[in-house]
Symmetry: C2
Subunit: 279 residues, 2 copies
């Protein structure tokens, strides 16, 4: 099959490596010529260009740009394609993408591979990045069955586990388990830094161990990504944050009231609840 990849970063590059290995012709497009050369050298694409019109030859196009560029790049892209071409994206928020793109392109289906790495860019591309990882697809009631099956077959060939849901369901789910943790974790770092006595702050920094390391990890991550989550998934994230604030207030109340029995029940409940998550 001829498969196009628009945006050759960690996700686009890794996708290319797997698809090329499975015998497809992979047409890569990047804004940067140097990225095109790197993608070819790494064996991530059959051919690469800065010219979007090359994607005309593709039967399916994966849009793998950063979240904020998916809609504008899509608008440029569709003028080059036949109506039959299936388009999918890999954005980590789905509602605004699907709402913007579905009315413009019948054969569009939103997607989100839940795979990543602390590194980014084509240099970080790796084989089997999607294997045994969740890959969410968000078809709407009007998405043609053929478009769904075409993308599903490719995704299954990567070894990923497919989940189908509505864009809003996806966005709420990732708000709980991905976007809220970033904000919770970032606030932890900011709070620890608010200690006013320099000796105590330095002591805290020296004594910090695995507990602080793990709880603060995602809050110390890429600030641009954090902003993107907040910007594109604002409503779901605000809802999660308000719920979080309520839970935190309940916990503060228990400690203020020295209600150790209820506090222990609450901590027991979160201990057992955590096992229900895929962690």
């Amino acid at each position: 099959m001829n498969i196009g990849i628009l945006g050759l970063g960690l996700i686009g590059g890794s996708l290319g490596l797997d698809l090329l290995e499975r015998g497809h012709r992979v047409i890569g497009v990047s804004r940067q010529e140097t990225t095109c050369f790197q993608a070819i050298a790494l064996g991530s694409v059959s051919e690469a260009s800065t010219d979007m019109s090359r994607l005309q030859a593709a039967e399916v196009v994966f849009i793998c740009t950063p979240l904020g560029l998916i809609v504008p790049k899509f608008a440029e892209l569709i003028s080059h394609l036949d109506d039959a071409t299936v388009i999918t994206d890999v954005g980590s928020v789905k509602t605004p993408i699907v709402e913007a793109l579905s009315p413009l392109w019948e054969n569009f289906i939103g997607g989100h591979p839940m795979a990543g790495s602390t590194n980014s860019g084509i240099e970080a591309a790796q084989r089997n990045l999607f294997a045994a990882r969740p890959y969410v697809l968000t078809p709407t009631t009007t998405t043609p069955k053929k478009a769904i099956s075409t993308v599903s077959e490719i995704v299954l060939s990567l070894g990923a586990n497919i989940y189908h849901c509505q864009p809003e369901q996806h966005d709420r789910a990732v708000s709980w388990i991905s976007h809220l943790p970033v904000m919770v974790s970032s606030s932890l770092i900011a709070t620890a830094m608010s200690e006013r006595e320099q000796d105590v702050l330095e002591l805290a920094q020296k004594l910090a161990s695995t507990g602080f390391r793990d709880t603060s990890r995602v809050g110390g991550g890429n600030p641009e990504l954090g902003v993107m989550m907040a910007k594109y998934n604002r409503q779901a994230l605000l809802n999660s944050l308000q719920q979080y604030r309520q839970n935190l207030d309940e916990l503060i109340d228990l400690i203020e009231q020295e209600n150790w029995i209820k506090l222990e029940e609450k901590l027991q409940s979160t201990q057992s609840s955590r096992r229900q998550f895929n962690v």
Copy 2:
């Protein structure tokens, strides 16, 4: 030297392994006879007994019981000891311990080895548990120099990094980097569970990945330990929680106001602040 260990769990047992190896005579005391047998079999003590009076032969006694038992066990212990015996403890909160014990025993010095394991009990004891880990000592203005140097020398021989500070400073520092993270992390789990649509909750549980795993880890830990932290370090923890709530509210406000520039600045600041912690 004759060194006593009261309480043969992970910390007491590991301490014994190291001290025995360094040529000391280690006298262990546990409430459970089976624990005494295990400690001897593991090479964690030279001798072990359920009889506290055996500690009379010790020049230094480490109290390694759970936090809530340190004060009552100490009260039983001192009737058996000579005044010259140095006593130290390993409790993870220092102010209430030091306030209770210092007036009763001149040769007392509070301590807290920042070492642990997910497992507990004598079975989990291991050599070099304290090596290259922080070990806080909290002498007061009245602690005799000899008591400080005796305990310091033993701690240094374990390969630990000693920090001296006031009990209140220790408790504030661990509140930021150890106790607050537990409450923040536990609230995250409780919040994710508050999703009312069953499909979305199950999706969130399936999509949960490294971000959720790390941020929720300490919130899914031992509930009794969490309660101990809150009970014994209540004031410092409440202060940390109030500060946390303020930081969280600022972040919620920025997202509500769609102030993406300030949000990015905040996330950049937490990203760089995190590097100042020993993580």
